[in-house]
Amino acid sequence: MTGPQPVVSQQVKAESKPQVSLLRHTSSGELADKTFGYAMLACAIGILGLLALIVYELVLRSQLSWHAFGWSFFVGRDWNPVEEQFGALPFIYGTIVSSLLSLILAVPLAVGVAVFTTEMCPKWLRGPLSFFTELLAAIPSVIYGLWAIFVLVPLLREYVEPFLGKTLGWTGLFEGAPYGIGMLAAGVILAIMIVPIISSISREVLSVVPQHQREAVLALGATRWEMIRVGVLRNARAGIVGGVILGLGRALGETMAVTMVIGNRPEIAKSLFAPGYTMASVIANEFSEATGDTYLSALVEIGLALFLVTIVVNALARLMVWTVTRGQPARGHA
């Protein structure tokens, strides 16, 4: 019995081609099929082409700066367009500090929200809560920035920063005049922006932890929190870390909201009250006004560095989320 009706669809696809050409007798059908297939392939290759194009253009346009400064570009602290002296360290520092600050603020909150929505939330609340989160992801960053300028910054200047200065000023992280605008404001607005991303990924990861894991822990007499800690969070650890790294990727490349509140001064200061600058912001502010080829090339080189870092960060994150949602979530030694 060879099976006149193949169950597996792949076989049908493979066999349908000769049948079709038999029925049609003309070669035009086959030609159309081929043309269509190649056209779709061209679109797919277009995606590869786009990435190649991005890499090519960035490398090409940053050559000038690369040859002029080499590796010292990334450790130089001096950014002086007038004397054509370019060092990107203040921007790298600003990007790293603002992103880390936002992670410190956002991660506990985002994981808390995810745990609440998957494990504790009454059913009727689940829909509205996730709808609201989705809505937040749709707000453009320029609107976050607008809100930050007129609401968040005054709030930080009048209340939060004086308080932090008084209580934690001795650490050196919170000293100096409270301008409102500065590294702290950038970190806070970034945190608000990445909470929805981290919490939605964490929620996805928590919801694929098998139900019997929870039941098993509960059957041992655990309280709900112990069940969450032992049965859920421990199993979902890698996926949550993946979500956090994805949030980091977003924070590193975020431009508008940060540019609007960070103060845009290329200095490295210990205090979080001080203004700073990030890699994305310096491109946004200076690119269209950059005079001179070296200046432009230096900005493109910052873009190239930003591009490479975000690609590595994103690839890492996808890999970690993937291992949890598609691999075997339940591990014996957990």
């Binding site: 049908v12 995606i47 994305a280 690119f287 269209s288 690839a315």
Partner: protein, 295 residues
């Protein structure tokens, strides 16, 4: 034997110590308070947008071009028009390629090469928008020697393509194979099956994907800074610099003028209404759409 086991476990199970019960209550409290802490700024953003936006929006805002600095009145009509122009170009360039790549991935790409394309489009999705702006600048603006709506549209198209490709693929994969097989059985060629049967069945899902990509790029500012550049006047020429709503909001927000701040809020409200309106319209359409039947 079972009796003794039962009695050995029972005390430990029934008497959960005070410490453990308190920890449980405390952690529940912590989780609830994280939700509250997260919701406060979000509710604040929305209410500020609505209150400040409605207070500053008026007919002149929607119909006039900006007045010179210092003069009251004027509006963002040219920026709204500019956004339509740039987004139109982006959709024309991005949507066909995105859908085509999605069709390839779902109908032809169940192999290593397909996986490679899938990974590449995920990577493209994560590229910071400001970097896309640099690339559009060096490909279009440097060749044309001036800023243009075309360059802005090109930048946004690059951002739309990977999103559309992935959602189109997902939606096409939802179409049952039996439907494709039925078409093949009738002697319909493969290209016709894909376009008239598979794609048709998944239409509402594919449109949702397109709209989500559209909504995402509609608010993008960074890639337009040095491509579309901005313009104080009306412009419908694709080769001229053009205003765009997000750009105008940015310029007005960082300006020192009270009047411009007011208009920035109004612009933000218009922008968010456009985006949320587009997304929820699609949601409703999909709920009553053909895809629900196809599943």
């Amino acid at each position: 034997m079972p009796e003794s086991t039962k009695s050995a476990i029972a005390p430990g199970m029934l008497q959960i110590s005070l410490y453990r019960r308190l920890t449980d209550k405390l952690m529940t409290f912590v989780a609830v308070s994280t939700v509250v802490i997260v919701l406060v700024p979000l509710v604040a953003i929305f209410s500020y947008l609505v209150i400040k936006g409605i207070g500053s929006i008026n007919w002149a805002f929607l119909t006039q071009t900006p007045k010179p600095v210092g003069e009251p009145g004027g509006g963002m009509a040219n920026a709204i028009g500019g956004s339509v122009l740039v987004l139109g170009i982006a959709s024309l360039l991005g949507v066909p390629v995105g859908i085509g790549a999605g069709i390839y991935l779902s109908e032809y790409g169940r192999n290593r090469f397909g996986d490679f394309v899938r990974f590449t489009s995920d990577v493209l999705n994560g590229v910071p928008s400001i970097v896309i702006g640099i690339v559009a600048y060096s490909i279009v603006v440097l060749r044309q020697r001036h800023f243009s709506a075309l360059a802005g549209g090109f930048a946004l198209a690059i951002m739309m393509i990977p999103t559309i490709a992935r959602t189109t693929e997902e939606m096409l994969l939802l179409v049952p194979n039996a439907i494709r097989e039925a078409a093949y059985g009738l002697g319909v060629p493969r290209w016709r099956t894909t376009l008239s049967i598979t794609l048709r069945t998944a239409t509402s899902g594919v449109i949702t994907g397109v709209m989500l990509a559209f909504a995402r790029v509609a608010g993008e500012t960074a890639p337009l800074l040095f491509t579309a550049f901005g313009n104080q006047y009306w412009n419908w020429n694709t080769n001229e610099p053009t205003a765009a709503l997000p750009l105008q909001i940015f310029t007005y927000a960082i300006s020192p003028f009270e009047e411009w701040h007011r208009q920035a809020w109004a612009g933000a409200l218009v922008l968010i209404v456009l985006i949320v309106g587009a997304v929820s319209a699609v949601r409703i359409a999909v709920r009553h759409g053909t895809l629900a039947g196809a599943n």
